[in-house]
């Protein structure tokens, strides 16, 4: 009886106060306490850009290459590789856990150089990963499980936004070393050395191999040499993130110089590689994770453990992109063509940097924009302040992230003048 009565009361309450009735419903879900996840800062930029109806709008948030018509670019060597692969009518059998062997081998060779002693002695292991993110995640998991000497990963200040949550979720703790100098929009070399000299032994230090994201600021070779020596002295575990090999300077050897130098100097590094940008294979998820070991025996042990880590995440990696990349890397004519195309992409970026600066000067800007040319790779840390960025978005429909980072890939010869005009307007 009492139960019926109370039900009636509830129903009445629901009629008068609909909110109560909704609460009743909500309470019966498993997910009532699940909070709304914050929107991704970069995705948010693209969402807003899409909604904007201004014909002059520009999306400078996108971390993907665009050609001079502002369109996505599928490399010709990729199309050729795809045609070759299609003609072979291959089956779709599972890859091994560590991925396509020809890909992993070529991936390591690309990074380290064909004649690297590490490859000759077989003292490294490379596994195919789900692009750069997947590579970093496997590396983070590996360190979390096996690098018991330290939980600390030191990232440059600033670093790619996704580094922190990846390492944190894997159970590592995040610390930072000085890197970017907002006063010069350049490398804070002294600050970096100072901070690195204080990092406790055996900590992990993450270095961007080239085309630092988000700043575009890279150390010069002499600076890399000093850092390598200091890091050696501090006995730190080096983790390189190389997402832009070839894309930074246009020269794959030059872009891999830091990685090779460190190895030469005796650092047994961890290395993440991505082929998203340099082969335009973004959505195919092509990457590699390499561990340089003491010897071949150790490499075998490490390999076996990497497989144990990979299996409960996704079992084995996707074939398509790795097959394309492998075909390109292992077919001389395609490889040559790829080098040319990668250089073309890098050159277009460099040209847009130069055009932006010359147009800013033409607009009459008296600010120092040298950093736009000195920085390298897809991104440029303009030095614009949040209020200025806001004005660019609201008044000019030019979209970028609040930190003033622009993707130079989104600049074309058709819109560079407009961009310069707008930047001048908010900074004069």
């Amino acid at each position: 009886m009492a139960l019926l009565k109370s039900t009636k009361i509830l129903i009445n309450a629901g009629a008068q106060a609909p909110v109560l009735a909704v609460l009743q419903l909500r309470a019966s879900s498993w997910w009532t306490e699940v909070q709304m996840g914050p929107p991704d800062p970069i995705l948010g930029v693209t969402e807003a850009f899409k909604r904007d109806t201004n014909p002059k709008k520009m999306n400078l948030g996108v971390g993907a290459y665009r050609n001079d018509q502002g369109k996505p670019f599928v490399l010709s060597c990729v199309r050729k590789a795809e045609a070759q692969i299609a003609a072979k009518k291959l089956d779709k059998e599972y890859l091994p856990i560590g991925g396509l062997a020809e890909f992993s081998k070529a991936c390591a060779q690309l990074a380290l150089g064909l004649d690297n002693e590490v490859l000759k002695s077989g003292r490294s292991i490379t596994v195919q990963t789900i692009s750069g993110t997947g590579s970093l995640r496997i590396g983070a998991n590996f360190m979390s499980r096996f690098h018991n000497a330290s939980r600390d990963v030191y990232l440059p200040k600033p670093s790619w936004g996704n580094h922190t949550p990846i390492f944190r979720d894997a159970g590592m703790q995040l610390k930072a070393y000085s890197y970017y100098d907002p006063k010069t929009c350049g490398f804070d070399f002294k600050g970096a050395l100072d901070d690195i000299s204080k990092i406790p032994e055996k900590s992990v230090i993450l270095l961007h191999a080239c085309a630092h994201n988000p700043t575009g600021v890279d150390p010069r070779p002499e600076q890399w040499k000093e850092m390598a020596a200091l890091i050696k002295k501090r006995n730190l575990l080096v983790f390189f993130d190389m997402a832009y090999q070839g894309f930074a300077s246009g020269d794959i050897d030059r872009d891999a110089w830091a990685v090779r130098h460190f190895i030469e100097q005796g650092h047994n590094v961890l290395l993440s590689q991505s082929f998203a940008k340099n082969m335009g294979l973004y959505g195919e998820r092509v990457g590699g994770f390499t561990v340089v070991c003491k010897d071949a025996e150790e490499a075998k042990r490490v390999e076996s453990q990497l497989k144990i880590l990979i299996r409960p995440i996704y079992s084995n990696p996707p074939m398509n992109g790795a097959r394309i990349a492998s075909t390109i890397l292992n077919t001389p004519e395609l490889y040559k063509e790829w080098l040319v195309e990668v250089k073309d992409m890098a050159d277009r970026i460099i040209k847009m940097r130069e055009m932006l600066v010359s147009n800013l000067k033409k607009e009459g800007s008296t600010q120092n924009w040298q950093h736009v040319i000195d920085q390298i790779g897809m991104f440029c840390f303009t030095g614009l302040k949040p209020e200025q960025v806001e004005r660019l978005i609201n008044e000019f429909s030019i979209y970028m992230t609040k930190d003033g980072r622009i993707s130079v890939a989104g600049v074309t010869s058709a819109n560079v003048e407009y961009l310069a005009h707008a930047i001048h307007a908010v900074t004069k």
């Binding site: 306490e33 993907a64 990729v78 692009s131 949550p165 959505g283 998820r285 299996r311 079992s315 992109g321």
Partner: protein, 410 residues
């Protein structure tokens, strides 16, 4: 002194080691009844005709590029895949309370689901929440959940070795004694490794207990279409649970039913109470995806989406699936016949009663070892065989070898 000096050599994953051993074996009579991949009657991998067709369509369409997919995956893939699991006319879909995450195969879908549950299921720390997996189950289930942070993974009774069938009483008993809110991993159809599925009536009994005790249903659906040859029939259990008001996850794999093993095509279907809850759940899953693989691979999802959303191709796909399922059924029937004809001791009804790619033969480890070492027939130590490894050319040899094993090895 190396930082990795203490890293031990890990034991290789059994099923892949089996394949490796098979590959190295030089014996001409060798048969691979190990890893779960479909084979034709010539013992060859089979790329579905509809897959070749759509592949070519994709390759010839130069308007397509390789840009990043959204974090949650290709929208047309996600929605059409969920429709496959829940049915075109699913009331839950009409209510806008079904969502999905494109994942790296079935494994990836289990992973994202597990990571989400550990963070958000029953309070914000589910490391101690019990996760139940069937005894036996796919060998990777345990690792997926333990790597996601679950500390208490338990078996629920499932396989009755004596009667070579489902231990329903044990199953229901374990459901009853499970702490409320425990998570149960259920095989939607074609149970791996036993091939033994509950009947519809048994599923109803299972659902009743689960509802009463607020147990969470996490379906693993890796063989839809492959089990009976009929997509809807194979999805009955999942759809029944949805009709009973369960909020659930269904990890779907398109590895087997599309033969797209190496393109890693999977979908985590999420059924929530309402759209509001669904939205928040997906937003958190997005965060998990971002720190695991950022966004999923494009090729396989495109292929499946085009196929599912184009009527003629969809029909052709269903036909291809039936071809595979029918060949498996034929091999089951023939193996049983041959064993009966040989007078092999024991009952062999379970070979045709079981369903899907696998059969739990009931052979013991010694008999399995005999088959592997003496007869070069490769199967899992559990006695699990992949029916797809049988062909009209090798079935006599396999039947005779099983007969030998059963009669000479105890």
């Amino acid at each position: 002194m190396s930082i990795f000096g203490e890293v031990p050599q890990a034991v290789p994953v059994a099923v892949f080691k089996l394949s490796a051993d098979f590959r190295e074996d030089q014996n001409p009579s060798k048969v691979n009844l190990g890893v779960g991949a479909y084979r034709t009657d010539e013992g060859q991998p089979w790329v579905l005709p509809v897959v070749r067709k759509v592949e070519k369509m994709i390759a010839d369409d130069h308007s397509l590029n390789h840009e990043y997919l959204p974090i949650l995956g290709l929208p047309e893939f996600r929605s059409s895949s969920s429709k496959i699991a829940l049915g075109e006319d699913s009331p839950a879909i009409k209510d806008n309370r079904v969502g999905a995450v494109q994942c790296l195969g079935g494994t990836g879908a289990l992973k994202i689901g597990a990571e989400f549950l550990r963070r958000w299921y029953n309070g914000t720390d589910n490391t101690k929440t019990p996760v139940y997996v069937s005894a036996p189950t796919w060998e990777n289930h345990n690792a997926v959940f333990s790597n996601a942070g679950f500390e208490d993974i338990r078996p629920y009774k499932y396989w009755d070795a004596a009667k070579r069938g489902l231990n329903l009483e044990g199953f229901l008993g374990d459901l009853e004694s499970a702490p409320d809110h425990s998570i149960f991993v259920l095989h939607a159809c074609a149970h791996n490794p036993t091939g033994t599925d509950p009947t519809q009536d048994q599923w109803k009994q299972i659902a009743d207990v689960m509802k009463r005790k607020s147990l969470f249903a996490f379906f693993d659906s890796a063989y839809q279409g492959f089990a009976s040859g009929n997509l809807d029939k194979d999805a009955w259990a999942v759809r029944y649970f949805v009709s009973q008001g369960f909020e659930l996850f269904c990890a779907q794999s398109f590895s087997k039913n599309f033969g797209l093993y190496n393109e890693r095509v999977g979908n985590l279907t999420v059924v929530a109470k309402d759209q509001d809850n669904l939205t928040r759940v997906l937003s958190q899953m997005e965060k998990i995806v971002r720190i695991t693989w950022s966004n999923p691979p494009s090729q396989g999802a495109r292929l499946v989406a085009i196929t599912l959303n184009t009527p003629e191709l969809f029909a052709e796909w269903k036909d291809n699936v039936k071809t595979m399922a029918d060949r498996v059924l034929l091999m089951r029937a023939q193996l049983k016949e041959k064993l009966k004809a040989l007078g092999t001791p024991g009952t062999w009804e379970h070979i045709t009663e079981q369903i899907g790619m696998f059969s739990f033969t009931g052979l013991n480890p010694k008999q399995v070892e005999y088959l592997v070492k003496e007869k070069h027939i490769y199967l899992m130590a559990s006695g699990r065989i992949n029916m797809c490894g049988l062909t009209t050319k090798n079935i006599d040899y396999v039947a005779e070898s099983i007969h030998e094993a059963v009669t000479t090895v105890q």
